[in-house]
């Protein structure tokens, strides 16, 4: 082992590779090998040798029609099994420990492909359709995660995202029905910010436990929207009928096969989400605003000694983050469902929270996590249609089970902002 130089004042820390990483690699290796066995036993040999799986790569609306890929189901699944097995063996050898998560990701991807091949054996499956709904399902999750990470970067835990989304959805529907889309979206964002202000006020001014404050906001939002929905919307049905929002099809780009329908034929909400991701990333890591917000979330006392107003910064950040949640709520109500229903968020805000952790408090991480969760949701839908004999409830469980696994497996490694959840007490 490395000798520490006795006379050197700025010693480079000698990081000892602990057995923890090796153990993790080995566990992942075992998991992958088990997955390979499942793929081979169930997916490859669960179909007839001559079965063919067809994946459609174009939608009926596409400019270029009839793109599809057809593979021999058993051969393809067998190939996936081999890939997963090799990845697993490689992990068992315990080298190149940094790649463990990557290997797990690739292995899971191969597993899903094999699964789809099996499910679509002797039939066809709209791959593009699923990828497109992945992107759409990812929007609210990503926006929720962005709201959460923005708050938490400043040191305030926001568990009330669910409530912000729900209230914003309600306001969006009512205002959009009455005054049009623009007012609807603006109002939704505003109410998101108002609830953000309430959270900030409780957490900062009264130092209410931040998780409790968030939970209470969720309950308040649920009660208030349900109350108003049955008291007002049930009588004034015309307030629950917002105009449908059309897609903005981006010329040329939307005609690219697969990529086009996935990314370039959506409502402005989808483009807006991508824009927010980029803007937040740039903002957090390149600008004065970001440096200050992060300093307040990491070491508020240090920020304070440099003349940065910790509490004001937190107020501002949490309130602005509410705008993002409001945007998400508007999307849910106006673009996805087009009306308000009681408890229509159904816990998606919490999935957003998990995506925030999964994405390690990074905007692009949140987007990636949102896409992963969106994919598992879309998968559940599509597989339900295919009729594989797997109860749809189990497919619907998937995102939640995945979240538990992610949180249990990753929290040790992902590091939240150091002052996350701690009230700042200035003398």
């Amino acid at each position: 082992m490395t000798e520490v130089m006795a006379r050197d004042t700025s010693i480079e820390p000698v990081v000892v590779k602990t057995s923890v990483d090796q153990r993790r690699a080995r566990i992942v290796g075992v998991i992958l090998i088990v997955l390979a066995a499942i793929v081979l036993g169930v997916f490859a040999f669960g179909v007839t040798p001559e079965a063919q799986s067809t994946f459609n790569l174009s939608l009926p609306t596409d400019a270029i029609q009839g793109l599809s890929v057809t593979v021999n189901s058993r051969f393809f699944s067998g190939l996936m099994a081999v890939i997963i097995f090799v990845l697993g063996l490689d992990r068992m050898r315990g080298r190149n420990l940094g790649f463990t998560n990557g290997a797990l990701g690739l292995g899971l991807l191969a597993f899903v492909l094999a699964f789809l091949t099996w499910a679509a054996a002797d039939g066809s499956f709209s791959m593009v359709g699923m990828l497109r709904s992945t992107v759409i399902s990812a929007v609210v999750i990503t926006l929720g995660a962005l709201t959460g990470l923005t708050c938490e970067r400043s040191g305030v835990i926001n568990i009330g995202i669910e409530g912000q989304l729900l209230t914003a959805a309600f306001v969006a529907v009512v205002l959009s029905s009455a005054f049009g889309t623009v007012v609807g979206v603006a109002g939704a964002m505003l109410i998101g910010a108002v609830l953000g202000a309430l959270l900030a006020w409780l957490a900062i001014r009264f130092r209410v436990d931040q998780i409790i404050a968030g939970v209470v906001i969720n309950i308040l939002a649920l009660g208030l929207t349900s109350f108003l929905a049955s008291r007002v919307l049930s009588e004034a049905q015309d307030l629950n009928a917002p105009a449908r929002i059309g897609s903005w099809r981006i010329p040329i780009l939307a005609d690219i096969p697969v990529i086009g329908p996935m990314f370039f034929d959506h409502t402005f909400f989808v483009y807006g989400t991508f824009l927010i991701v980029v803007a937040l990333h740039f903002g957090f890591f390149r600008t004065r605003w970001g440096l200050r917000v992060r300093s307040v979330g990491e070491h508020p006392k240090a920020a304070d000694t440099l003349g940065i107003d910790v509490l004001k910064t937190r107020y501002r950040t949490v309130i602005s983050a509410g705008l993002i949640a409001g945007f998400g709520g508007a999307f849910l109500a106006l673009a996805q469902i087009s009306r308000f229903e009681e408890n229509m968020t159904g816990g998606i805000g919490f999935i957003g929270l998990a995506a925030m952790i999964f994405g390690r408090w990074m905007p692009f991480g949140a987007l990636a996590a949102g896409l992963v969760f969106g994919f598992s949701g879309a998968l559940a839908q599509k597989v339900g249609i295919l009729g594989t004999g797997i109860p749809s409830e189990f497919m619907l469980m998937l995102p939640y089970v995945a979240t538990v696994i992610v949180v249990a497996g990753l929290v040790g490694q992902a590091r939240p902002p150091a002052a996350d959840g701690q009230p700042y007490i200035k003398q």
């Binding site: 082992m1 520490v4 006795a6 006379r7 004042t9 700025s10 010693i11 820390p13 000698v14 990081v15 000892v16 590779k17 602990t18 390149r286 600008t287 004065r288 605003w289 440096l291 200050r292 992060r294 300093s295 990491e298 070491h299 006392k301 240090a302 920020a303 304070d304 000694t305 440099l306 003349g307 940065i308 107003d309 150091a418 200035k426 003398q427």
Partner: protein
């Protein structure tokens, strides 16, 4: 140019932290503010830096009274502060930490990174501070962190710089380097306030020494006019006797045997790297060393709070290497932890509850799963009496007690039983002199009763006063073994890492 504090008074509920304190520092002058823990030095400096607001008195520069409501006011007035606990964001780079709050920005608030880097390099070169602007703060050593703090202050064009206990976390060599930097700042015309409780350092670096005690300035002297002993007397208000009354040790059997101990710190770096030593019954072994040389990890490894990577520890014949705290407790090992409030006590619990924190599950405090509160209260009343814990009662939360009395609660809990081995980590850190003496005497009494005692302290004086044998820990290794009567210079050299 001169910075002047006049008649500063600051009251906290129940305490007068500063009582009519006055202090002046001119350009190119180093003033040492000397006092023991709790004398009110830090409070005074927090007022100067705008973190607290004084109840009475004024702060002025060249006769112009300042109103300091926040640190930004202090910064604007040209006052800079290097805090005892560095105010650096670990996940930021050096340059980001330096420019935070005064970022050079371009269009739309985008930070000009080259400009930030250049700022750091310029100051770094001018004062010979040698830092890498792109290094992450969490990856640099404590000494470098301090230099980053100094760059932060200089970047804000401070004319007066306050250093709060700047040497506490430095190795002796870094201390030398630090004093070099202070000389440079002084030559550049900065006025410097140097807060410390270390007499030697005050004598070495200061042009003037201001001594505080119990919130008041008790003396203002020139280094040439006083001796260390004079200063010590001024600091505590009576003749201090740093010696602890004790008879020579009569060690018998070996109780604790530690061999080739290796323990990692939180960053997975080897903090303890092959340490071996013995502690015998009836002797006190002291571990000296600059803070951060593996003391914390060594003790946590010994008491089962941190996994031991390799090596063994034996208690008599029993291998205790992988024992957990409870197993050790049951083998008659007492542990006074380094972090009194963080791990030694449950602050929300009452004195009585804290008194049984590690023996609550044993008779007489519980029978089966049922707690016997009567027995607990009875015992707590007795311990409060016996160990001189000053508290309104056993039912008040322990958080309402002073640091010294909190520590006595721990000592009472750990000592009021048969004890084979005492492991005491920083047993008197940050507590009043009366409690220090009391706790020292209790530790010696345990030794005389036949216990083996291991004391760790970053205060060399404490180790020398208590120990019968002194081990010096440097960079996770034992750098030498000494008798407490040995030449302090030799021990100092060992703490510095020089072979003896």
């Amino acid at each position: 140019m001169a910075l002047e504090l006049k008649g500063i008074t600051k009251r906290f509920p129940g305490v007068v932290a500063n009582d009519g304190v006055s202090l002046t520092v001119g350009s190119g002058e180093v003033v040492a503010l000397l006092g023991e823990n709790g004398a009110g030095k830090t409070t005074l400096m927090n007022i100067l830096y705008g973190l607290y607001t004084q109840d009475e008195g004024t702060v002025s520069i060249d006769g112009q009274v300042l109103s300091l409501d926040s640190s930004s006011d202090a910064i604007a007035a040209g006052i800079g502060m290097v805090h005892q606990h560095f105010m650096l964001v670990p996940v930021f780079t050096v340059a980001e930490n330096v420019v935070l709050g005064q970022e050079p920005t371009g269009l739309g608030g985008v930070i000009d990174r080259d400009e930030a880097r250049k700022t750091v390099m310029d100051i770094s070169e001018r004062y010979n501070l040698r830092v890498d602007p792109d290094a992450l703060v969490e990856n640099i050593s404590v000494g470098v962190e301090q230099r980053v703090e100094i760059i932060k202050v200089l970047n804000r064009e401070a004319r007066f710089v306050v250093f709060d206990e700047p040497t506490a976390v430095l190795t002796p060599q870094e201390v030398d380097e630090f004093f070099g930097i202070v000389e440079g700042l002084k030559a550049d015309g900065k006025g410097i306030v140097f807060i410390t409780h270390k007499l030697g350092e005050a004598l070495r670096v200061a042009d003037r020494i201001v001594v505080m005690r119990a919130g008041k300035v008790v003396a203002e002297v020139l280094p040439a006019d006083v001796t260390t002993q004079d200063l010590a007397d001024l600091m505590v208000g009576r003749s201090v006797d740093l010696q602890v009354d004790k008879v020579p040790a009569a060690p018998t059997d070996t109780v604790l045997t530690v061999r080739d101990f290796v323990v990692l710190d939180d960053r997975n770096v080897k903090a303890v790297d092959g340490v071996s030593f013995d502690v015998r019954a009836g002797e006190i072994v002291g571990i000296a060393g600059v803070q951060g040389n593996g003391q914390t990890e060594l003790i946590e490894g010994l008491v089962g709070l941190r996994p031991v990577m390799s090596g063994q520890a034996h208690l008599g014949d029993i291998d205790i290497t992988d024992f957990n705290p409870r197993q050790l407790h049951e083998r008659e090992v007492s542990h006074i932890p380094e972090d009194r409030q963080g791990s030694g006590l449950v602050l929300d619990f009452t004195v009585a509850e804290n008194m049984i924190l590690d023996s609550y599950y044993q008779r007489p405090f519980s029978r089966g799963v049922r707690m016997d509160w009567d027995a607990t209260f009875e015992s707590a009343e007795r311990l409060v009496e016996q160990y001189d814990v000053r508290t309104p009662g056993i039912h008040v939360p322990v958080s309402t007690l002073s640091g010294g009395n909190q520590q006595k609660v721990i000592v009472a809990r750990e000592f009021d039983r048969d004890v084979k081995l005492v492991i005491a980590s920083q047993p008197t850190r940050g507590i009043d002199v009366g409690s220090i003496e009391y706790i020292h005497n209790q530790i010696v009494a345990k030794r005389d009763a036949g216990a083996a005692v291991l004391v760790v302290s970053s205060e060399l004086d404490e180790v020398l006063a208590l120990a019968d044998r002194v081990l010096v820990l440097f960079h996770g290794k034992i750098a030498g073994e000494f008798s407490p009567d040995a030449d302090v210079t030799d021990i100092g050299l060992a703490m510095l890492g020089s072979a003896v």
